[in-house]
């Protein structure tokens, strides 16, 4: 049931000792980089500054802007001949970011992913198909090496070409998938339209879904459409990629591997820690990354620590389902709105499909929100019924958001679905 029982079930006190020791080593190591060498000197930080994990708060935060400003290699803590791979994110707003990996880093990363997959019951007898893009996107190679370390037969199908994905699933007897949630529902829809019942006509049983915030209702829908158990996974390229945190079979929170990461949850405005159980921004420190350690990295992801122990026996803390990103938040007429709130309401209507698009734009002097949502099937030929449905959605969204968005029903399959991440929010406002 455990990939590494001693580490996964280590008592909290020993875990903290391990973290403190690794944090001290990390400070000594990170000062080799041009960036941290300068930052630590400015803040008068030495390895001796760290006596316990609490002392992390003496250190300054690292942000994506720091990564961009020091692009590409300013945060390397080893010479480039020790590095064997880099992953770079797209630079849609300014410089891209680069994360460097040594061979040791890649081995540890694969181990994290293997640990996650083993936790949800995936074994070397399984056949694992990865629908992530390969290349720079970490969901491809990250899962690939983890699944190979675990010993599954891997099908590196990569992204796109839904019919071919389905052919592989059927021909190879795929039992597990790594897939983005919006694409999982799309895949199921295509199967049904081809007359394939995934519950009877495939061997699928476990899928790992991540890379997009999604609601519990959407998970349930994916599970019932495909006849599988779906586990939420969390990762980000700055923290390697997939394998940072993962749900166990309890499906109640994602265990984050505290032997690899030191976890803080802060108030994104005051930057002070929030009490356990309250939502805030996740801040992570890599505890034993060699090529490019990151200290107090602000992930911009919003979540909270679930209090209490997990029945699975793992002692590593659990993060709640992600609530979106502190930079994805839409502020409309002074109200803070997260797309996940809208999704939760929409998923409550069985008449609706899983795709939706939120558009915020300035009309005259007003900022307005339009929510377009796909109808699942046309279940009526009566306008009045559809108009009533539109009204009901509007009312429930108003209760949730405290403002009234415009609702537009659209035909199934008409909203943009990239075979990567679904586009959920378009903010067309101009902030002059």
């Amino acid at each position: 049931m455990y990939w590494q029982k001693d580490l996964e079930t280590m008592d909290r006190k020993s875990l903290e000792t391990l973290q403190t020791q690794r944090l001290t080593e990390l400070i000594a190591h990170a000062q080799q980089s041009a960036f941290y060498g300068k930052v630590f000197t400015e803040h008068n930080i030495t390895p001796e500054s760290i006596q316990s994990t609490e002392d992390i708060r003496k250190l300054p935060f690292t942000t994506k802007e720091h990564l961009r400003a020091n692009y590409p290699f300013g945060l390397a803590s080893v010479s480039l001949d020790k590095c064997v791979r880099l992953h770079s994110s797209s630079g849609t707003t300014g410089n891209p970011t680069v994360i460097l990996h040594s061979q040791k880093d890649l081995d540890q990363w694969a181990n994290q992913v293997a640990r996650c997959m083993y936790m949800v019951g995936i074994r070397d007898t399984d056949i694992f198909q990865n629908t992530s893009g390969y290349g720079m996107f970490t969901g491809g190679l990250g899962f690939q090496y983890g699944a190979e370390m675990l010993g599954t037969l891997t099908v590196p199908a990569a992204a796109g070409n839904t019919k071919r994905q389905i052919k592989f699933i059927q021909d190879f007897g795929t039992t597990c998938l790594h897939i983005i949630p919006s694409y999982a529902t799309r895949l199921a829809e295509v199967m049904y339209s081809m007359g394939i019942d995934p519950k009877k006509d495939t061997k699928l049983k476990t899928i790992c879904i991540g890379a997009e915030p999604h609601s519990e209702a959407q998970r349930k829908r994916i599970e019932s459409l495909l006849g599988v158990k779906a586990y939420n996974c969390f990762g980000m390229s700055e923290m390697n990629g997939p394998g940072v945190a993962f749900e166990c079979t309890e499906q109640n929170g994602l265990h984050i591997w505290e032997d690899y990461y030191l976890v803080e949850i802060i108030n994104p405005i005051t930057l002070e820690p929030v009490p356990v159980g309250e939502i805030g921004e996740l801040v992570l420190t890599t505890l034993n990354r060699e090529a490019m350690p990151l200290v107090r990295y602000r992930t911009r992801d919003l979540t909270r620590i679930l209090p209490g122990e997990c029945p699975c026996g793992r002692t590593h803390i659990r993060l709640d389902r992600f609530q979106g990103r502190s930079d994805d938040m839409i502020i409309l007429k002074g109200v803070n709105i997260f797309p996940i709130q809208i999704e939760t309401v929409l998923m409550g209507f069985k008449e609706l499909g899983s795709n939706y698009l939120i558009t915020v734009e300035t009309v005259g002097n007003n900022d307005e929100m339009l929510v377009e949502v796909e109808l699942d099937e046309l279940y009526t030929d009566d306008y009045a019924v559809l108009q009533r449905l539109t009204k009901d959605i509007g009312r429930q969204l108003k209760d949730e958001l405290l403002l009234t968005p415009k609702i537009k029903l659209v035909a199934k399959g008409s909203l943009p679905v990239t075979e990567g991440k679904a586009v959920r929010v378009k903010d067309l406002r101009t902030f002059a």
């Binding site: 046309l378 030929d381 306008y383 559809l386 029903l409 659209v410």
Partner: protein
């Protein structure tokens, strides 16, 4: 007495109607009657076709949600006052018309009617010997 009608959700978007109808044409399904009403946000395309089952399968195969309903098909001569007379018979029996579309060929008219009460509508048709048509008659028009 009734014929199958397909209803398709139609977005208010340029080219949508033409796209949907082309699906049927290329598969040799003939359209006998069609109607689309406009609202600001969306419309419903209603179709009577030569092979409703086939049309339904074609739409499903292209991910287009379609709904199959039964509607009344009534035949009258195309004289002034005939429509009014037939509708008034329904009204007298307390049957509401939800929607209706008609077409005339030569000296004859076909009325496609959806009422709020199928059984009561049948009763009116029987009682007043209103001439109705079935799917085969429509296809051979």
């Amino acid at each position: 007495m009734t014929v199958h009608q397909l209803s398709i959700f139609l977005e208010n978007k340029f080219g949508k109607l033409s796209e949907l109808l082309a699906l049927l044409g290329s598969e040799n399904v003939r359209i006998i009657a069609a109607t689309v009403a406009d609202t600001s946000e969306f419309g419903i395309l209603r179709l009577i076709v030569s092979d409703p089952e086939k049309a339904y399968t074609i739409f499903q195969g292209h991910g287009v949600g379609a709904n199959m309903t039964e509607v009344l098909a009534i035949k009258t001569d195309a004289e002034a006052g005939r429509f009014a007379e037939i509708i008034s018979l329904f009204t007298q029996a307390g049957v509401s018309i939800e929607y209706m579309y008609c077409f005339s060929l030569d000296k004859q008219s076909i009325m496609i009617i959806r009422t709020n009460n199928k059984e009561a509508a049948f009763e009116v048709i029987r009682k007043h010997h209103i001439e109705h048509v079935n799917a085969c008659d429509l296809i051979n028009l």
